[in-house]
Symmetry: C2
Subunit: 281 residues, 2 copies
């Protein structure tokens, strides 16, 4: 496995590989890798000649009061994981490589926001699409892999690629879960023992909602209320949001007759957990 830290070297290498007719699969991450990230690399490995993974904790997507400084990092451990997954190139730029100057060109998202995580993290997706635009230009992927745990991120990336005509196929990879159902996340390490025990109920609540839709319930308000009641009975964390929206357009629905997402965010003492389930009625 080759480790590249320079943006110029990364781009030269990627351009060379594409000019040789190779396909490139790209898995962008912020590191502190878990099975969710590994799933991205494994699917990329199956579908492409070359796999590039990146680790970059992007300051642009953290709010002023968010956890950029304390976001968990462990490069040595991450390198071993990536190497084991037969990734060809690990791109590890530092901040001065990615943002040598303040940005003179800015990007923003005006659709698929104002709901879910965007409510409490204004500017977050602006930072996400900016860094992804840069990473896409640097790694030249044929296909890029994103986990469905961050379902709003996937919806926004889908919009980015469509609206700006990136020549990239976006691959949505199912959420990887702990045996009890908790979605894997780098932030799970911040849960207390009690919080970790009860956090399995997030996914169970979402599955309850899904079952209601399968059973024929078409009223989103009824479903949201039932799921919320279940959550309140089973968890102590504060429900940040619980929403049922069309997917991937993320618009409110009056009647469930298209693909929808039920998404939840719960704030615990030191960690904010998100999870979701996508249902086609």
């Amino acid at each position: 496995m080759k480790i590249i830290r320079s943006v110029k070297e990364m781009q030269d290498q990627a351009i060379l590989l594409r000019s040789q007719g190779k396909t490139i699969g790209f898995a962008p991450t912020m590191g502190y890798l878990h099975d969710g990230h590994i799933a991205l690399m494994r699917q990329a490995r199956k579908e492409n000649d070359i796999v590039i993974a990146s680790i970059f904790v992007n300051p642009l997507q953290f709010g002023e009061n968010e956890d950029f400084d304390k976001y968990p990092r462990d490069e040595a451990r991450d390198r071993k994981i990536v190497e084991k997954e037969q990734v060809d190139i690990l791109f590890l730029p530092d901040i001065s490589e990615m943002y040598p100057n303040s940005m003179g060109v800015t990007m923003d998202v005006v659709s698929r926001i104002g709901v879910l995580c965007d409510r409490n993290r204004p500017g977050h997706f602006k930072g996400v699409i900016t860094v992804l635009t840069k990473l896409f230009h640097l790694t030249q992927p044929s296909r890029a892999y994103f986990g469905l745990k961050d379902a709003q991120q996937v919806a926004v990336v889908d919009l980015l690629v469509t609206d700006l005509n990136f020549p990239i196929e976006i691959k949505m990879v199912p959420t990887v879960r702990e045996p009890d159902g908790l979605a894997k996340s780098s932030r799970n390490v911040y849960l207390t023992e009690q919080e970790r025990l009860e956090s399995k109920h997030l996914y169970q609540a979402l599955q309850l909602g899904k079952q209601k839709i399968i059973d024929g319930q078409k009223n989103p308000v009824m479903i949201v209320n039932e799921v919320k009641t279940y959550l309140k009975q089973n968890i102590t964390g504060k429900i940040d949001y619980l929403e049922l929206l069309s997917y991937p357009t993320l618009s409110p629905v009056n009647l469930i007759d298209e693909q929808v997402i039920i998404a939840v965010a719960v704030q615990y003492s030191q960690a904010r957990l998100i999870d979701n389930i996508i249902v086609t009625p």
Copy 2:
């Protein structure tokens, strides 16, 4: 010469060419081609395996009161010109191909603006960088060619490519002029006979300014005043701006000790002319 109108076909073709190791030179235009555009195609022809030219009058870069509807168009004539210049692919998308939906992702420029053409065309460069991002993704150029007549555009495109890490070399092509010095422009057809005669003084005024710098004048105010006086004595059009700034950063200078641009815009009855000269002291 191949004519392509579909964005998908254009992108598939460009990706295929790059995967075969070919270099692509790209000349984006809004059509109604003149010698300035031809210079872009000729330089691209010399430096690349494949030359792609595009003709697309981009509504996003026209202000509400600007000349989008009456911007001159002549596809049949343009096609002949492009063919003669041995362009391999002419990309001719219509608006519904380029903007099938309203944009959910937006772009903006925050540096190198607030001066020159941006003063009177708010939002213009926002439209320019958005369409260029799309065109770059569709045509996959190794090198893209821009005329220095639109010097602020070149400076902004340089920023776009640098800040977002586009894998593209931006080539600045010198302004092509009429025998009397008037910079070639699609908008010159709107000059009256009298305006056309006196318009040669724009370039003469700029050359006067350049000569002052070469002669050792380091005070930008003195130079701007002399050039302005010359213009007022020789033209009837309204001076929209006359500015001396650093280039390509477009910042005010107190003392001329780096590369600068002297740029002018003149409003005539039916046409707004711009011109500039870049000087290294």
